[in-house]
Amino acid sequence: MSASIWSNLVGQDLAITSLQAAVADARKLERGEPGPAMTHAWLITGPPGSGRSSAATKFAAALVCPEDGCGRCNVCRLAPVGGHPDVEVVVPEGSEILIDIVERLRHIAAQAPTQSPWRVIVVEDADRLTDKSGSQLLKNIEEPTAHTVWVLCAPSAADVLPTIASRTRHISLRTPSTANVAELLVASYGVDPSLASLAARASQGHIGRARALATDDDARIRRQRDLRVPFQLRDLASCVAMAGDIAEASKEAANARADELDDAEIDLLKRRYYAEGVSKLEKSLRRSYETELREMEKEQKRRRTRMIKDEVDRSLIDLQSLFRDVLILQLGADIELINEELRPGVQQLAAVGTSADTVRRLGALEHARRAVTSGVTVESVLESLMVELKDPWVRASA
């Protein structure tokens, strides 16, 4: 494949072909030739973990990369995380996308791109648009400017307003199989096949997660620690302490990643202002540099918060996989365990409770995952979860 930014979007060959064709036709449009494979509004759908926001942001990067998404340059690295001036990535914080965010996007959409021929606006979780903000966004889409591209993401087309669905071109993704993911890990990252299949299984089709588990010792260690959590909830104090530990570990992991991205972004900004050989900016230029820097730092702070939540969510997914296995043993189903390597521990948990307990624990985990994304204090969510994992019926008396 020539454009390697797509290389770790596994099992999505059809989608990739369409998006690559769109990028190629975008270049034709830039030259004033017809380019029917490109259009100004897209809707990328797929189940959680299939990589719909990854596909959307890669598409955005490919449009603004001078080499159609080489996957190697700074643009390809930073554009997917909103670190390129012509790419805006909106990740809703709360449970709804509010009207003022859409209003801000309208302003952004109206501006000409500065570094590339396109201005790309990616709206992750477009299913969180309200009726009001959705129809406002629709107005923006219906009045296209030549250079603006909208890329919306949602679990399915039915999750967005019908009017939005009918005015966007659809790309649908599917959950990659465990085998697909394992193959990718072996082929692209040189991971040992047995480790690759373990990581693929544990990640349940989440590519990024699988890669982290296969290549990053810290991620593996954290997962091992997450899976030991249910064995360590002895009393209330240990529940609260455990919640604090998970929150702390998530912050640490997120901060490490965020620091790296922040530095790269600031470096890119510097390079834009400081031409080769220039080491001191004129006053007026310095002022605008500092304004941009402050803006960027605000955005970086928001991203950091989001990354912490993502890390917490990972731990919750690990725990979900564990209790899913417990339930399978309790029901006597003949299905492969996600955490096959931990079978003795899973058996132990299965023996001490009933399947009704496990169902309630899984419910508590699902509830916690929703709470984390809706902006609740992470510590509080985790404390509540730990208490419920210890005593799955406590909510009834709450």
Partner: protein, 326 residues
């Protein structure tokens, strides 16, 4: 005149920021350059910042990140310090730790005035910092007033310092007494939240509800809700952690392990005594509180609640948690 070099060193950021602004204010030079010594461009930035100015005017060069310098940047700084340009005033900032020792030595050797910014621990050290702040403002505050202020704001150094500044501006009595502090904070949600939380974990439903009503009337449901839930969560964490401590620790040890000021220990001890026999209710309270944290911020169905309903839900929460089942 101030020293041509100032070294601001230590892990406490709020102190470093404070030292930085007082130093800059004392220097009163408008032309300032900030060089981040950790970046690859540091050496070039530093050279550029030290270049002679057109009209020979003085400049301040603020060098940050001495604790983890870029190699070339470090060499450049050493070179500049060994032959310092006359027009440059230096402010070097080191965030603590063992890194960049060679630079620290060189800066000190160049005659730097050193401002230490040691980490401020919770409790006594923080109170001492606040006391020093009051003294620096040529004011006085009784110790119980200061303690009440600290408890009300919580352990947040930037907020404590800026809030104290505001308090000393607004309250003209000298010394400032605990009555002044209470009056000053009357109606401020943060203090109200702390009081409500205290009553809740004391299982005094009547007082808790009265304090909640009072706060709702004074500052409305928006801030009352957020502050009360946050304060209750903090209070709960402390009470539960106390329950997990081994028996027979001294008051100082308990304070240290829980990260609270010593005078709070007897409150926490009393609160735990009211819950220790009823831990399942306490566990249920943890669940209710996390849910409340969600809906008060508009998540998990909270967006559909109007103020009236939120007020009702808050009253229910406070009553249900603090009431004794038997």
């Amino acid at each position: 005149m101030s020293a041509p070099i100032t070294l601001i060193i230590g892990p406490e950021q709020v102190l470093r920021d404070q030292a930085r602004s007082t130093t800059l204010a004392a220097l009163a030079i408008e032309d300032r350059y900030t060089v981040e010594l950790t970046t690859e461009s540091a050496a070039g930035d530093l050279r550029a910042a030290c270049e002679p100015t057109l009209f020979g005017s003085d400049v301040v060069v603020i060098v940050t990140g001495l604790e983890s310098p870029d190699d070339a940047g470090a060499e450049e700084l050493l070179a500049q310090l060994s032959d310092p340009p006359d027009h440059v005033r230096w402010v070097c900032i080191h965030a603590g730790g063992v890194g960049g020792k060679r630079l620290v030595d060189a800066v000190k050797k160049a005659g730097a005035e050193v401002i230490e910014c040691k980490a401020i621990k919770k409790g006594r050290a923080t109170l001492e910092l606040l006391t020093a702040e009051v003294t620096a403002r040529k004011r006085r505050m009784t110790s119980d007033a200061l303690a009440a202020y600290y408890l009300a704001v919580g352990h947040n150094l930037p907020m404590l310092l800026s809030g104290l500044d505001q308090l000393l501006d607004d309250v003209t009595d000298d010394p400032v007494t605990i009555e002044n502090v209470q009056e000053y904070f009357a109606g401020v949600a943060d203090v109200a939240g702390w009081q409500i939380s205290g009553h809740v974990w004391d299982r005094d439903a009547v007082k808790a509800l009265t304090a909640l009503r009072h706060s709702l009337n004074n500052v409305g449901v928006g801030s009352t809700g957020v502050m009360t839930v946050a304060a209750m969560s903090r209070g709960l964490r402390t009470v539960v952690a106390f329950g997990g401590l081994q028996q027979g620790l001294s008051e100082a040890d308990v304070a240290q392990q829980l990260g609270i000021p010593p005078w709070q220990v007897k409150d926490v001890r009393r609160q735990w005594s009211r819950w220790s026999g009823d831990q399942r209710t306490l566990a249920a309270a943890i669940v209710s509180l996390a849910d409340a944290d969600a809906w008060i911020k508009g998540g998990l169905g909270g967006a559909s609640l109007d103020d009236e309903q939120k007020m009702f839900e808050l009253e229910m929460l406070v009553t249900r948690v603090s009431a004794r089942a038997n």
